[in-house]
């Protein structure tokens, strides 16, 4: 543990984010804060995924560097090594609120991440309104919903956590588009911008929280969000993106590490028998892992079942390998 670390990786929520120094000049953004408070009550998902995850030294160090430098963190690693859990762990410990999740597919485009505009809905409503009241239509803000990236860029005193999952699944243009937004820390909603009024318009954020006011259709962040991009390494990523991100490779957990993980999930054991059973499973898991990919979750499943007293080595069917074979099945064949 180090003094400069804001994120300690110890699974204890604290207010340390306030101690983060001002950003470097070139990562300073001009948004006016609309939210000053931390999220004292973590949401269910954050607790579930963030409260038990154990980051390693290297992970903690790079998370802190990314927080300090206000740069995105690109995490590569095999499936099941806890790439996305790290984002939840940060949100949990630093009380940064729900994690804004943006899963990427080859069809994702930047617009999806920024906001959605339901033009037809608005038109229909306006039409209805027009026919009945003959008055002004409903507020346009009702028909705009910010996406995860758009929400993350809403100005607030403390950074939000944005998890862009499996960026390597994206089409070839998305990474470059993303870069521009990351550099600018802002974006525009033309549908709002063209309304010539300085009146703020309320739109709905991605996480379903209260509507936020946007003036002149422009969203400028204040604290740059803590952006985590994850990649399974299936595809090369363009060099500009790699240059602008901090890069972290999460390696598969060692046997010792696995034992710790097991302990943090199931608590310390009281009986010798349970301990032995766990150690055996960890050993089996490590051995099998060298032949093909396995996710840590699979180990946890196995230990959970064995903890219930189920004999994993026997099987009701004719399958001679037993249940363990099915549970610890390789992800890639």
């Amino acid at each position: 543990m180090s003094n400069w670390w804001v994120f300690q990786g110890n699974r204890q929520p604290h207010d340390g984010i306030g101690k983060l120094p001002l950003p470097p000049r070139w990562r300073h953004f001009k948004g006016t804060s609309q939210r000053e408070a931390l999220f004292e009550e973590p949401d269910e998902q954050v607790i579930q995924r963030g409260a038990i995850f154990q980051p390693g030294q290297k992970e903690i160090e790079l998370v802190n560097a990314a927080l300090y430098l206000r740069r995105p963190l690109l995490i590569t690693g095999k499936p099941g090594t806890g790439k996305s859990s790290l984002a939840y762990a940060v949100a949990y410990e630093l009380k940064l609120g729900p994690v804004l999740l943006w899963p990427i597919t080859s069809r994702s485009i930047l617009q999806d991440g920024l906001y959605k505009y339901d033009a037809i809905g608005r038109l229909q409503e306006a039409n209805l309104h027009h026919a009945t009241n003959n008055g002004a239509g409903p507020d346009i803000g009702k028909f705009i919903q910010l996406g995860p990236l758009g929400t993350a860029l809403l100005p607030s005193k403390y950074p939000r956590v944005l998890l862009i999952d499996e960026i390597d699944k994206s089409d070839i243009d998305l990474p470059n588009d993303l870069l521009n937004t990351f550099e600018d820390g802002q974006f525009e909603i033309p549908e709002l911008a063209r309304i010539a009024s300085d009146e703020p318009i309320n739109v709905r954020p991605h996480d379903g929280s209260d509507p936020v006011a946007i003036t002149r259709g422009r969203v400028i962040c204040q604290a740059f969000p803590f952006v985590v991009l994850t990649s399974n390494g299936e595809k090369e990523l363009p060099a500009p993106l790699l240059r602008r991100c901090l890069r972290l490779d999460i390696s598969v957990p060692s046997a010792e590490k696995l034992a710790e993980i097991v302990e943090s999930h199931f608590g310390e054991t009281d009986t010798e028998a349970t301990l032995n059973a766990r150690q055996k499973l960890v050993k089996a898991f490590v051995n099998r892992r060298e032949r093909g990919d396995l996710a840590t979750d699979q180990l946890l499943n196995a230990i959970y079942l064995s903890g219930l007293g189920i004999d994993l080595n026997s099987s009701a069917t004719d399958n001679k390998d037993g249940l363990i074979e099915a549970i610890l099945r390789h992800l890639t064949t």
Binding site: K58, L62, N127, K235, R243, R247, R291
Partner: protein
């Protein structure tokens, strides 16, 4: 201050951008100066920021010593896993721990490939999905007052793609590549849908079975109809992924299938092999065409077609034009552009002959039954002659590693990151590599073990600098420690001497890298235990070995040999004393080097070859010794590496046991190496090499020949030495080192000739050579004599057979009959196996044969190739023996060559008697008897049917055409050593620039030729083994503005490759046109005066010449782009060329 900081970062191998530097400096004050290392070694993968950040602001060069750039750290040896190592209870060998070694992509450059497909990302209006058209809606509200949304079709992805994968056994090595290609296409986002299909070819019937999917279960799947793949909307792109080697490609089945798909849809062949190897696939039987699409998504059947120039028919060949792409960005880009309808883009394609067409008889070249296997040297040389420089280097590196696909890719990624999938393909197709066990279609090809053909590995290793083979190991080790845990990995084993686990590593398996203890410790568990073990008392584990093996020795795996199982025996040598010995050795090496360099200086650039070699070797030895001192390589490795180096230096490697005498093998390799250097030198002269050099080369060739004989036991070592002595006078070769177990030979040693005798002999051989060489001919551009053709005793086969493919059956029979009677026969089915430059090989075959036999039949006399070959035989003055197989009339075009010659009549009876008689006749001919004499004894030899009068007319009549023909022949001396030079010289001679085409001899043309050959010189510099591309800019040639901007230095490697590729292909086209021109000129000459008046012919000749000039101009332009060389005057460049 900051400048100094950046300088330090650069020295550490980092090249930060301004932004990164700013980030580092900003973050540094927040960090504590010293953080305890989280792991035993810093992770090099952490971004530069972090590495520097840890050391705070006090950065100095010292800190960087800790960054493991060339870590000598101990570690576990990595071995490739055997697919069946679970079941195998190997008796010998040590235990291994399973380990996921980081791997390399099977489709390198995926990002660039993806980019090249960008034109296909076009979107078209969807028929099913709609979006709000804001503008139209507003207009409607304004105009009609109706508040209704106006919808317009949503832009949708244009194409979907269906990969149809060839499942012929030769494709298994590309399985991973195909998988990655599939993923690339899926993730590209350009396609609506990506389907995968496969097709199996029945080896017996050659029938094609189409199946859905590509997994192993397709073997039992149901046949699908090809029509299923046809999209009536024409929006499905069918990409046939294949190496075009399965019988279906030869028998027309695939052609029919492609024709079905190409009728309405888009179909292309994705060739896994590089363009230079296409000739060795079924594509060689297809007509190469250039294709252009009329609009986006033009189906194949409606593509614009340009036939090759040599296609004399007006009618296009039957078949469906299909574009062919290889998985390289430059191919894919133009192809994608063409599909997207970009105007003016021509793409390469083929027209495969359909099944019902004339080509039905074509069969796949039987690849597996070479009757006469080539020797190791021949195979390697053939590969070197035909391979691209990158593939050649790759083969050298691979020789230092075990061969499984993942390891090979890893070595490629680490050592030659610029190499692409096609280069590995070249190595695979070289036939230098064979699977250890037979290919099993069900097995995972990724785990298969391959090996070099017996002896090839040694030979390849001798061509790679020793330090480089060590580098392979070091670099892989580095890569492994940096990338362990990355998602892309494969199953390997770490040698673990401490356990007797279920996994075994065989003794003969070689290691390809190491896992450093730092990495092992991070992995925990058994690995950490192994790390501890390795670090304790096993600092230099490999020293334990008592029998170092030189890399060129008998052991196939030198690296393995010198780094055997750690810990088998303990290290007894006192570390301190060995260090002292090393230091002493280093000192001596330095002293020797100085002496040698002084000697070299005295020669003033004319130093003898051996001296230069010695200096090079010493430098390398010093380098290696330094590495050993630093602990980067072990003593054993050093010894093994030094041995071949110091053969020439009278030097005892006294750190090892007594010196071993130079073996014949080593000696042979040495000779080959020297020969190569000499030949490179000669090539630099571009056909103007001095006589002395040519003599030397000749001597070396003979010495190699003799040594090979000695190796085969045909002559004794004593004889060899006696014979070599006069040969190697010029080469300063120290024969006394050749102590080839002379004592074991019981014969008394022949007295070595006296010095006078030697000089006498030498002078005589010189004289003889001058006499036999052709008289100098008139100068071309300047006053130099034309290259002296080295006259050689024919070393090729006895008989060269020229035939039409329609007579193949008979020729096969003839071949085996003759071969069984002890007559060596050259014919292309047998002798062209590995080469793609088969035309060059044919020329060589003809030049070196004793007897040129042409099989006459109606088809043969109609064949352009047969005509050309007869022409060549005449040109090289080979004895021509026509054999009439099927009765035919001799065409005018061959009368000249065949006039007045006795012929052999088989008259379609392939009886044993006939063959016996023929063999008798041929043996007689080889023995020197004339055909006329033999005619009296053998009834199958018939008198000439061709009227002698014709000959009379042709040769004696001093017609214009006769003289011209004579001129043409005389001038066409081909210098095989200077391929590039020959392009130029044949351009000059074939165009007849110095005779009757004065109007064509303009300065422009001349400087273009010069520019082109200048380029070839540069290029050759690049090909020459492992030197980097050296671009020599002529001092007096003007530089283009780009060059002045120093942009030249930063010429993007990719672009350079692209340009060089274009230049190369331009030259290939020049070759094609030259061949055609040759034919045309001959035709013109044959027609005599009538030929002159033939307007059609004249036009053809003219357009061919123009085409050549056009291409050469293109070359000059490309050279300007690639190297910044701007040629302003012809004289300038000619001068440059002559120097």
């Amino acid at each position: 201050m900051i400048a100094r900081f950046i300088e330090i970062l650069r020295q550490a191998g980092l090249d930060p951008t301004a932004q990164e530097v700013a980030d580092i400096l900003w973050l540094a004050p927040y960090l504590e100066p010293a953080i305890p290392e989280p792991s035993s070694e810093p992770d090099p993968k952490i971004k530069p920021d972090e590495d520097e950040a840890k050391t705070g602001g006090k950065l100095g060069p010292d800190e960087f010593d800790e960054i493991p750039l060339d870590e000598p750290s101990p570690g576990g040896d990595l071995h490739a896993a055997h697919p069946d190592d679970d079941d195998k209870a190997s008796e010998e060998g040590i235990g291994g721990l399973p380990f996921r070694s980081p791997g390399a992509s099977a489709l390198p450059g995926g990002l660039a490939l993806g980019r090249s497909l960008r034109p296909l990302m076009r979107r078209i209006p969807s028929k099913t999905r709609f979006i709000l058209d804001e503008e139209a809606t507003v207009r409607r509200i304004a105009d009609e007052g109706a508040w209704l949304p106006v919808l317009s079709p949503q832009p949708a992805r244009w194409l979907e793609v269906a990969l149809v994968i060839d499942k012929w056994p030769s494709m298994v090595i590309w399985q991973q590549t195909v998988t990655e290609l599939l993923r690339l296409l899926e993730q590209q986002g350009a396609f609506r849908n990506v389907q995968s299909w496969s097709f199996l070819t029945d080896p017996q019937s050659g029938q094609v079975h189409l199946r859905v999917g590509l997994g192993p279960d397709i073997l039992s799947g149901k046949d699908r109809h090809p029509h299923e793949l046809i999209d009536p909307g024409g929006r499905r792109l069918i990409l046939v992924v294949s190496d075009c080697l399965s019988p279906a490609w030869y028998n027309g089945q695939m052609a029919d299938l492609l024709a079905t798909w190409g009728q309405k849809g888009l179909v292309a062949i994705a060739q896994m092999l590089p363009e230079r190897l296409w000739q060795r696939t079924a594509l060689d039987h297809a007509v190469p065409v250039q294709l252009r699409s009329r609009a986006a998504g033009t189906p194949n059947a409606r593509l614009h077609l340009e036939l090759p120039w040599e296609w004399f028919d007006d009618k296009p060949p039957p078949g469906m034009p299909v574009p062919v792409v290889s998985l390289e960005p430059r191919f894919l880009t133009v192809w994608a552009q063409s599909i997207a309808g970009l105007k003016g883009v021509w793409i390469p394609g083929v027209m495969l002959p359909p099944a019902n067409g004339a080509a039905k008889s074509l069969t796949a070249v039987d690849e597996d039954t070479p009757d006469k296997p080539l020797s190791v040297e021949e195979q390697v040389k053939l590969f070197r002659a035909t391979a691209s420089p990158l593939a050649w280097r790759l083969a050298g590196y691979l020789a230092a590693a075990p061969l499984t696909l993942p390891v090979m890719r890893l070595v490629q990624r680490v050592m030659l990151p610029e190499a692409r999938q096609v280069h590995l393909a070249e190595v695979f197709l070289s036939r230098l590599i064979k699977p250890e066990v037979d290919l099993d279609p069900a097995a995972d090809p990724e785990t298969l073990h391959y090996n070099f053909v017996e002896g090839v590995r040694d030979y390849l290793l001798s061509t790679v600098l020793i330090s480089e083979t060590v580098t392979v190991l070091n670099e892989v080790t580095k890569f492994v420690s940096e990338h362990t845990g990355q998602p892309l990995d494969f199953h390997a084993l770490i040698a673990d001497p401490t356990t007797v686990g279920p996994l075994k590593i065989n003794d003969h398996d070689s290691t390809f890298g190491r896992v450093t203890t730092g990495v092992l410790r991070r992995l925990g568990g058994d690995y950490a235990r192994l790390a501890t073990h390795l670090e304790q008392g096993n600092d230099i584990p490999s020293q334990a070995v008592e029998q170092p093996v030189p890399p060129v020795g008998k052991t196939p795996e030198p690296i393995e040999g010198s780094r055997p199982t750690p810990g088998k025996t303990s290290n007894k040598r006192d570390d301190l004393s060995s260090r002292e010995e090393l230091a002493e050795l280093l000192l001596r090496l330095h002293r020797n080097l100085m002496t040698l360099q002084e000697r070299e200086a005295k020669y003033g650039g004319q130093a003898p070859l051996e001296l230069i070699n010695q200096i090079e070797d010493h430098k390398q030895a010093i380098n290696l010794t330094e590495q050993a001192l630093n602990g980067q390589i072990t003593l054993v490795e050093l010894k093994a590496a030094l041995r071949p180096l110091l053969i020439s230096a009278e030097f005892n490697i006294d750190v090892s046991e007594p010196e071993k005498p130079l073996t014949l093998r080593d000696f042979l390799i040495r000779l080959h190496k020297n020969l190569m250097i000499l030949q490179e030198r000669e090539a630099k002269y571009g056909g103007q090499a001095p006589l002395e050099l040519i003599n030397q080369i000749h001597d070396y060739q003979q010495a190699i020949n003799l040594t090979e004989q000695a190796l085969n036991g045909q002559i004794t070592v004593v004889e060899l030495k006696a014979a070599l002595r006069p040969l190697l006078i010029s080469a300063n070769f120290d024969l006394d080192l050749l102590q080839i177990s002379a004592s074991s030979v019981n014969q008394p040693e022949i007295d070595s000739p006296t010095k006078d005798e030697l000089i006498e002999e030498f002078a005589q051989s010189q004289k003889a050579r001058v006499e036999t060489s052709e008289p100098a001919q008139e100068a071309r551009f300047g006053e130099q004599p034309t290259p002296v053709e080295v006259t050689e005793t024919p070393q090729g086969q006895d008989i060269f057979i020229s035939y039409s493919r329609r007579d193949l059956e008979f020729v096969h029979q003839l071949y085996s009959e003759l071969a069984s009677r002890g007559i060596s026969v050259w014919f292309d089915q047998e002798n062209i196996q590995v080469a793609d430059h088969w035309r060059a090989l044919i020329v060589e075959g003809i030049r070196e044969c004793k007897i040129f036999m042409v099989i006459l039949s109606p088809d043969a006399v109609a064949s352009v190739n047969v005509r050309k070959e007869v022409d060549l035989a005449q040109r090289y003055q080979r004895q021509i023996v026509p054999l009439i197989w099927r009765a035919t009339e001799i065409p005018v075009a061959m009368e000249y060559q065949l006039a007045g010659i006795q012929w052999i009549d088989f008259a379609e009876t392939a009886s044993q008697e006939n063959f016996s008689q023929l063999a008798e006749v041929l043996s007689g001919l080889i023995g020197g008897t004339t055909l006329e004499e033999l005619a009296n004894k053998n009834e199958i030899v018939k008198a000439s049917t061709i009227d002698a009068e014709i000959l009379e007319i042709e040769t004696s009549a001093q017609t214009e055409s006769g003289r011209r023909l004579g001129n043409l022949r005389k001038r066409q001396t081909i210098n095989p050593m200077a391929v590039g030079g020959s392009v130029i010289s044949s351009v000059v001679t074939t165009l007849g620039l110095d005779t009757d085409d004065q109007d064509f001899v303009n300065s422009e043309l001349k400087w273009l030729f010069s520019a082109a050959s200048n380029f070839i010189q540069i290029r050759r510099g690049a090909i020459g083994r492992t030197q980097p591309v050296k671009v020599e800019i002529p001092p007096d040639a003007e530089r283009s503005p780009q060059a002045d901007n120093a942009l030249l230095d930063s010429v993007n490697d990719f672009d350079l490759q692209l340009w060089e590729g274009q230049i190369e292909s331009a030259f290939r086209r020049v070759h094609t046109y030259l061949r055609n021109l040759d034919i045309l000129l001959d035709q013109e000459a044959m027609k005599g005066d009538a030929g002159k008046g033939d307007v059609y012919l004249a036009n053809q000749i003219k357009s061919a010449r123009l085409e050549i000039v056009k291409i050469l101009r293109e070359v000059a332009l490309l050279m300007n782009q690639a190297y910044g060389i701007l040629v302003t005057s012809p004289e300038q460049l000619i001068q440059l060329l002559e120097e």
